[in-house]
């Protein structure tokens, strides 16, 4: 499979993400325990739960940002030990609530940043290859942001900023997208259009997405599977 011009070399199980008996917290204060999650490639998963239940922490563990106190995490068939190898690193896009965009940079610059690791000196000088710019513009067009390519991201609406973060994940060629409450602050129309993009990513590129969300009706509409993180346990809703 070709993902944005690069061959997908990921091998391993049919699961994009596997967590086995994962626990996080302190000895006397466990946030969650025995979390088992198997996400098939191309599927969209919703994780719900009350604030403070550990949804964001679980995403960060899968992202390799923090280590669980117990259990094992495997992404694209490779075991994650707190940090990813560089090869695997770019296969996983993490979109936090703050989105992680570079304010004061344009939409196009933010999307092109996904290619900076390929040509760091070009990235430093801002001299991008034509094929990278064309690729970024094509992605922006597919999500309806091509006309705002030269706008600074801090001038965009919440929904537009969310799309830029997703466009960057697409440009990155991510096979797994971890999105922390991407639709919480959006109206229903905007929320649906964002979730449509995740769904389309799964259909076209077999990109799996794990989305933290609160709206059960939206989750029922869009998620292939949904889980509830409550009382320190992750339980499957459907």
């Amino acid at each position: 499979m070709i993902v944005q011009g690069r061959e997908d070399t990921s091998v391993g199980s049919i699961y994009a993400v596997e967590t086995m008996d994962v626990a996080y917290g302190y000895t006397n204060n466990i946030l969650f325990d025995n979390v088992n999650l198997m996400v098939e490639r191309g599927k969209s998963i919703a994780i719900m739960g009350r604030s403070g239940s550990g949804k964001s922490t679980l995403l960060r563990i899968i992202n390799g940002s923090i280590r669980p106190i117990r259990g094992m995490v495997r992404v694209l068939g490779v075991e994650v030990y707190g940090r990813y190898s560089n090869g695997l690193r770019r296969r996983v896009a993490y979109i936090p609530q703050s989105l992680g965009l570079v304010d004061n940079a344009t939409v196009l610059e933010n999307v092109l940043l996904a290619r900076a690791a390929d040509s760091p000196f070009r990235a430093l000088l801002g001299l991008w290859r034509k094929e990278d710019v064309d690729g970024a513009m094509s992605i922006l067009k597919s999500i309806g942001l091509d006309e705002k390519a030269r706008s600074k991201v801090n001038m965009l609406s919440g929904g537009e900023r969310q799309r830029v973060a997703i466009a960057r994940a697409l440009m990155q060629g991510a096979r797994v997208v971890l999105a922390d409450e991407p639709v919480s602050n959006l109206d229903q129309d905007n929320a649906r259009s964002i979730l449509d993009i995740f769904k389309e990513m799964g259909r076209r590129n077999s990109t799996s997405s794990i989305i933290v969300m609160h709206d059960r009706a939206l989750a029922e509409e869009y998620a292939d599977e949904a889980y509830m993180l409550a009382d320190k346990r992750l339980s499957r809703l459907w």
Binding site: R60, N63, S65, N86, R89, R90, V92, A93, Y94, I95, P96, Q97, S98, L99, G100, V102, D103, N104, A105, E109, L113, A114, A116, A117, P120, A123, L124, A165, R168, Q172, A174, D180
Partner: protein, 241 residues
Amino acid sequence: MVIWVLIIIALILAYFLGLIDLDSWLKASKNLSVFASDLYIRYDLLPDALHAVGETFIIALFGTVVGALISYPLSAISAQGITARWVSLAVRTIANVLRTVPAIFWGILFVVMFGPGNVAGAVALALYTAGYLSKFFYETFENVSKEHYEALGSLALPWMVMAKALFKHTEKQMASHIMFMFEYNLRTASILGIVGAGGIGYYITQYVSILNYAAAFTFFIVILLFVFLVDGVSYIIRRRI
């Protein structure tokens, strides 16, 4: 209770410093009245004073600009989360040394190296600014949320590109820090002349040494008004950034 302790300590120290001596206070007030009678503006010296302010401005501007340029890579390497911890600690120590040594001591060093004049002051301020702005910059980096770092981290960016992205992300705060530093440097450049490192302080020191207080006062008033003006403009710009 604390206030009484402070009062007693102040009185004891004043005694040992010779401040509880009526004669010395009488002599001091006499000197002050002589000094005050000489405090008037010498309009004939205004062109020279403006020229000296221009020199001071250039020293402060050079120090700020070059110091900022040096502090860009220093802060990027110093910030935790961008480079390895030992690298960040080593570079942070260098920045701390640059900042801890007062600008006036750097001035003395460069007067010895380059001789008296504006060059010594400009280089001294550049070094001092590099230390200060490095701290401001890396603290700004470290105030960026962990999640933000993690999101950018998932792009596997080399540290230089990561630093560029973070500079861009925080460029308004960075610009504000640079403006603040320029105001600070303008004041510091005004006193570097005391050790011969150029600027208006050099002229004021020379006039004071020949007891020409009116000339010194004229230069002092001109730099004071100029600093007020720059502070005001800088404040307006920083609010708009």
